[in-house]
């Protein structure tokens, strides 16, 4: 699910406020078990793989599957569990009336479940209509950055991320797809942050603080001297992170 946000304008015009429409990318937690202990265990496993990514991450939980199978779940407990794991629940979808009511009492907004299901092509209309611009295509197009990514800056790409300038120490670049850096990479680079095991990181000069593919990471200290400062690609092979000369 997506929503977007503009730069917070701390220093704005005289008007005290302004409503803007925005899109964010928010992870959705789809539950298929109502066993709290089971959920807790799996959640912790996932989070341990990319603690930085999940830290204070907003999350929407999806109860559609549970309700389809008539499995009851205590929304109150679930929200507590998410919070205990450092997640910030910001929405529920696919809940029944009682669940939705509980969510609202916890100030958690309801989201329509329809957006979730991969839109099944409904009986295609025979009339030829101009192809509507695909919002999905927009989000997965590569994000191109030509300016240096400085310490303290974060860049998130929904698809591939291509950076033509250096990434400083203390900067963080993340992509759901591949990452290319055609300059020194000194910060943190996380590819496949939504779990794409086939994503890779390519860089001209590896000096990174941390590299990660789909949650499997290596920190600077673990980087071999033979690859440091070299042009490399980084990918997953049977659960382990391979760093190889280009």
């Amino acid at each position: 699910m997506r929503m977007s946000i503009d730069h917070q304008s701390v220093l704005s015009q005289p008007s005290a406020l302004e409503f803007k429409s925005s899109t964010f990318s928010v992870p959705v937690l789809v539950l298929s078990s109502n066993d709290m202990a089971d959920i807790a265990q799996h959640l912790q496993d996932k989070i341990q793989k990319a603690p930085e990514f999940f830290k204070n991450s907003p999350i929407v939980f999806d109860l559609q599957e549970l309700n389809r199978r008539n499995l009851e779940i205590d929304v109150d407990q679930l929200v507590d569990l998410l919070k205990q794991n450092g997640l910030l629940p910001i929405g529920v979808r696919g809940g029944n009336n009682a669940q939705n009511q509980t969510a609202l009492e916890l100030a958690i907004p309801l989201h329509s479940a329809q957006t979730s299901a991969p839109a099944k092509p409904q009986s295609p209309p025979k009339t030829v209509s101009p192809p509507a611009p695909e919002p999905a295509a927009l989000s997965t197009a590569a994000l191109l950055i030509t300016q240096p990514v400085r310490s303290g800056q974060r860049v998130y790409a929904h698809g591939d991320l291509v950076i033509l300038a250096q990434v400083s120490a203390g900067a963080e670049i993340m992509a759901e797809g591949n990452i290319h850096v055609y300059a020194p990479l000194r910060g943190r680079a996380l590819a496949g942050v939504q779990g794409d095991l086939d994503s890779r990181i390519f860089c001209f000069d590896l000096q990174a603080e941390l590299v990660s593919v789909a949650g499997h990471y290596k920190i600077s200290e673990d980087l071999d001297d033979s690859v440091r400062g070299k042009p490399v690609q980084i990918y997953l092979q049977e659960q382990s992170l391979i760093i190889k000369d280009l």
Binding site: H7, L11, R150, G152, S168, A169, G170
Partner: protein, 269 residues
Amino acid sequence: MARIIVVTSGKGGVGKTTTSAAIAMGLAKRGHKTAVIDFDVGLRNLDLIMGCERRVVYDFVNVINGEATLNQALIRDKHCNNLYILPASQTRDKDALNAEGVGRVLEELAKDFKYIVCDSPAGIEKGAHLAMYYADDAFVVTNPEVSSVRDSDRMLGLLSSKSRRAEQSLEPIKEYLLLTRYSPDRVKLGEMLSVDDVQEILSLHLLGVVPESKSVLNASNSGIPVILDEKSDAGQAYMDIVGRYLGEDRPHRFIEEKKGLFGKLFGSK
């Protein structure tokens, strides 16, 4: 059009105020009407470096709050008629500044002045943010050591994302690197990062290198900007910097370069 220059660094103690005083004086000496503003509310220092601490009546916060006019608060420099100082308040804190008020003061100054130099406080909080928010040019003051370089890098990130020019998608702030407290001897011994090292990390246009110098401390103590000490290496370095900023082509000095690219080494003491 007035140019607003912010002198910033992130880290404290690297020479922001010394630099602000020197370049403001340098620009004024070159015939440009210049104002220099102390944004370090609560830790007022610029007036000491400029030697006008005994003539402060009203300050920046008074002007923002409408308790004094700009003309009442501006102090004309003793050495140069083209230079005016707007001191910070010592009794208030950074929260006394607000974006709208700062914008108003800068707009009013811009009618009258060619250059407005904003002396940023250390840190990346409100005072520093407001000092750089309206800037056209940024002088990033960096010492040749890792923590200062890291902080400068952070500040450069903020300049390119949290400034007025960034928020309104205007032409980005022009960023210049000033490497201060540079000691070629210590670079040679490996105790300090070299100009090349810093350039490699920050990849920024180098406006000048100011050598570590006793004359800076003497100048601060006597309240005379070091650029007026024409015999000192630091004073000459700042004059070069002002010249280069104004578009002159001056070779870099005070760098003992292994490759000999940057030319001659002036006496380093």
